[in-house]
Amino acid sequence: MIPAAFEYYRPKDMAGVLSLLEKHGDDARVMAGGHSLIPMMKLRMADVPHLIDLQDVGGMSDIEISGDSIKIGALVTQTKIIDHAGLAEAAPILSEAALQIADPQVRYMGTVGGNVANGDPGNDMPGLMQCLNAIFTVIGTDGERQIAARDFYEGAYATAREDDEVLTAVIIPMPKGGYAYEKQKRKIGDYATAAAAVQIVSGGGACVSASIAMTNLSDVPVFSADAGAALVGTSVDEAALKAAVTAMLGDIDPTEDNRGPVAFKNHVAGIILRRAIARAWSRA
């Protein structure tokens, strides 16, 4: 499994990356950990005449936790998220999700930026970032702009990022309340049959707010505002769970593939969401 030939660049700064992207246009692609891109190149499903390795570009490898938000550089790996003590305190849903991605070797290499920029419906972090209402910072030759995770995904491998822009960071408003990332997969290292990211805030025995996003159940991650709304004001009892699942099923659009037929996926999605809500609520 040998990829087609390509030119390789390892610029030392973002200006170098952007000028290569400008010069080669569609023929160039950036690479972070390479653990989505290289498998696709080996299968010759991705054709990348000009490969720009980001590993030497500084300023994208830090995790910064301030009073009301968390900033994660695009090159932060999944392993670093799992090992980061401050993050475990501030946003434990991140490591709970990262621990369910792939296997140890892949997590040493796979980055947050690559995972959210890739646009593969199977990636776990896009749904997670929609649940957390994260903002992505991208930079191009015309400067920087910010795109909400909930507006970023347009279709499989199609995102609001322009081809000549680089995603530099993910900014997450400080999460509140109970959390859960629940994922059904066929085996370790598999993408989700269905996954749910849930954050719930409780007050006086009732749900005050809830945020719910689903993974690999459509060609984009699905933020289900209606599923979250179905929990608000309830004590997250059986009726509320049922209403949330019904609302979520109205928002997803699974297709049949090697993970099963549509009816099965809807069934799994419902069970996974129930489990995620129950666990998040127990921690709220």
Binding site: M1, P3, A5, F6, Y8, P104, Q105, I188
Partner: protein, 164 residues
């Protein structure tokens, strides 16, 4: 063909320098260019872990990295971990506890396990199974691999205590 690039890296403590096409995957560099055939090619699709090596302190599947990416890095393969005259405690433990049958996955298993024990010197069974999840074995059913890693951990911890 694209132009060849100059690559310099260190494998098992030895400097290596060569010209390679950017598309050359590290596993081929190791096996075919440098004759370091401990890391194996199993699935070649980033799943099985037979090609696992340690690169700058990370366990990496060398079928999923280009040699040019590893430029400037330090790599350890099973050959750098022990040899027949001086086995690493993990190698001894795999031998004594039947941590292998056909042996194809073993170089990757042991290379990954060295890193696991560095990060978690006293792992529970669950931590071993989770930490070794990127390495597949089709013979043993994993039970004896877990036992081998536990035995090596005990041995290495005892040796460390004795040294202190």
């Amino acid at each position: 063909m694209s132009k060849k690039m100059h690559v310099k890296l260190k494998v098992n403590g030895k400097e290596e320098e060569f010209l390679a096409e950017p598309r050359e995957l590290l596993i081929y560099t190791l096996r075919e260019r440098l004759n370091i055939t401990g890391p194996h090619i199993g699935c070649e699709t980033s799943h099985c872990g037979a090609c696992t090596v340690t690169i700058d302190g990370k366990s990496v599947k060398s079928c999923t990295m280009f040699a040019v990416q590893a430029e400037g890095s330090e790599i350890t393969t099973i050959e750098g971990i022990g040899n027949p005259d001086d086995l690493h405690p993990l190698q001894t433990a795999f031998k004594e506890h039947h941590g292998l049958q056909c042996g194809y996955c073993t170089p990757g298993m042991i290379t990954r396990a060295t890193k696991l024990l560095e990060e978690t010197p006293n792992p529970t069974e669950e931590e071993i199974r989770f930490g070794m999840a990127g390495n597949l074995c089709r013979c043993t059913g994993y039970q004896n691999i877990v036992k081998s890693i536990q035995a090596a951990a005990a041995e290495m911890n005892a040796a460390k205590e004795a040294a202190e």
